[in-house]
Symmetry: C2
Subunit: 264 residues, 2 copies
């Protein structure tokens, strides 16, 4: 089965399930859904970085998501700091006779925790926070991001010539990026009545979201390339892991949330 | 001149200046003082990590400190996230023909920014926030931490046998750690009337602060050891750099602030 066929079959099977979750789940069940996604995404992230204290980081991320749910941003940032206190202390106590108590291992635990909290937990929280603003927003963002991805893929395949970031993401082209902007602008314009955006406003916002989505993609590629990995996992056939699917929300969800909270 | 002599002379010269700043500066001038300390500390941190986009990270850290000053913790965390968007975009635009656009360089910029923001800017902010709670608190913490350091040094030198974290900080001993706890408890007890703590309360808090200070020290040693550096710079003769002097506040200032805000 070709990669494209796999992608299509996965999209047909998983797409509707995700759409249903995004659209029909009320606020609290949607948070539970996001919580599960965060759980699997962090697990994938930990497989990439391979720190010794995996469970501690997983627990820390799940605690952070709860702190964000209760809007305790100050405690969230304090927890980023105090996690390193905890991890240095544990490395010191546990690792007296083996390799655990090494500067590199200690730093790896601390940095991995920072990265999973800021780049996985925080964006997923904002996907939930969008639902707090309006029931329809997460779905609108999801479809916009999908439109952007599909359009980037098709236009990139057909017209792609100039490499965008050859060392980080060799498959990406400038033409594909333009396709991404176009795709998300088109989808967001289709929705402009439902979400009560103006027409020009929808187009502009679509361009921004398309760009943010592509940069998020490139960022995750850079992380994976540093660790010599192509797909974060094989959970979704043809689509890599959950982390590969959530990277589209990395910058788009927090941006859209901030934008909508400040303008309405 | 021996290292101990250098340390003593520096302490006699710089000690009083720092004490005066901590005690006599009113709220806003104290913030300016903290801002300058943060500036130099971040510069030293950047010398250790050597990312390509130094000025961007320095600007980002100084912006973060302002966000914290205005208690915008949500925007502070969003900025941690969006800095990576900015840096990926810049690496992509600027680095089309040279080594800048590499996954490793991109990640180094992003991670260095996370680390300077969470482990330098955030603790220094809480040193300022202590002054907001009460004029005398930063000085009390400073003297407690100094008492702890001196006592750890003297008791460690005299009785030190069992290594605490041999691979990270070979000079540190369990006996020195106990000295640190004792030293900070003694100093805090001396102040218990001025700061209106109970006696038992001061001793307990002193133990905690002594422990937090030592772990902060070990954490900074781990970071520097990963980069093969002993002192963060030579600004203060015998005492290493500003970063070496601020690591005592890494966990103690946020902890004391959280503790005092929640108990009073």
């Amino acid at each position: 089965v070709s990669d494209l066929k796999k992608r299509l079959i996965s999209a047909i099977v998983f797409g509707p399930i995700v759409v249903l979750c995004f659209y029909f789940l009320p606020l609290f069940p949607f948070f539970i859904f996001i919580y599960l996604v965060a759980f699997f995404a962090v697990c994938e992230g930990l497989k990439i970085s391979e720190p010794k204290m995996k469970y501690l980081i997983l627990l820390s991320s799940l605690l952070s998501l709860l702190l964000l749910y209760f809007k305790r941003f100050e405690i969230f940032t304090l927890w980023l700091l105090f996690f390193s206190f905890l991890s240095v202390t544990l490395h010191m106590l546990v690792g007296r006779d083996d390799s655990l108590e090494s500067p590199m291992e200690t730093l790896r635990t601390v940095v991995t925790n920072l990265v999973t909290n800021v780049f996985i937990v925080l964006p997923l929280y904002y996907l939930y926070a969008l639902k707090e603003l309006d029931d329809i927003y997460p779905l609108v963002l999801l479809l916009t991001v999908w439109g952007s991805d599909v359009s980037a893929y098709l236009i990139g395949k057909r017209f792609g010539k100039r490499k965008l970031a050859p060392k980080i993401s060799p498959g990406k082209t400038v033409e594909g990026l333009l396709g991404a902007l176009l795709g998300s602008a088109v989808v967001l314009t289709c929705f402009h009545r439902i979400v009560q955006f103006g027409l020009e406003f929808s187009i502009a916002l679509g361009f921004i979201i398309g760009f943010l989505g592509q940069v998020g993609d490139i960022f995750e590629s850079a992380v994976k390339r540093c660790f010599g990995i192509k797909d974060s996992s094989k959970i979704i056939p043809g689509h890599g892991g959950i982390l590969d699917r959530t990277d589209s929300f990395l910058f788009t969800a927090p941006f859209l949330h901030a934008f909508l909270s400040y303008t309405r």
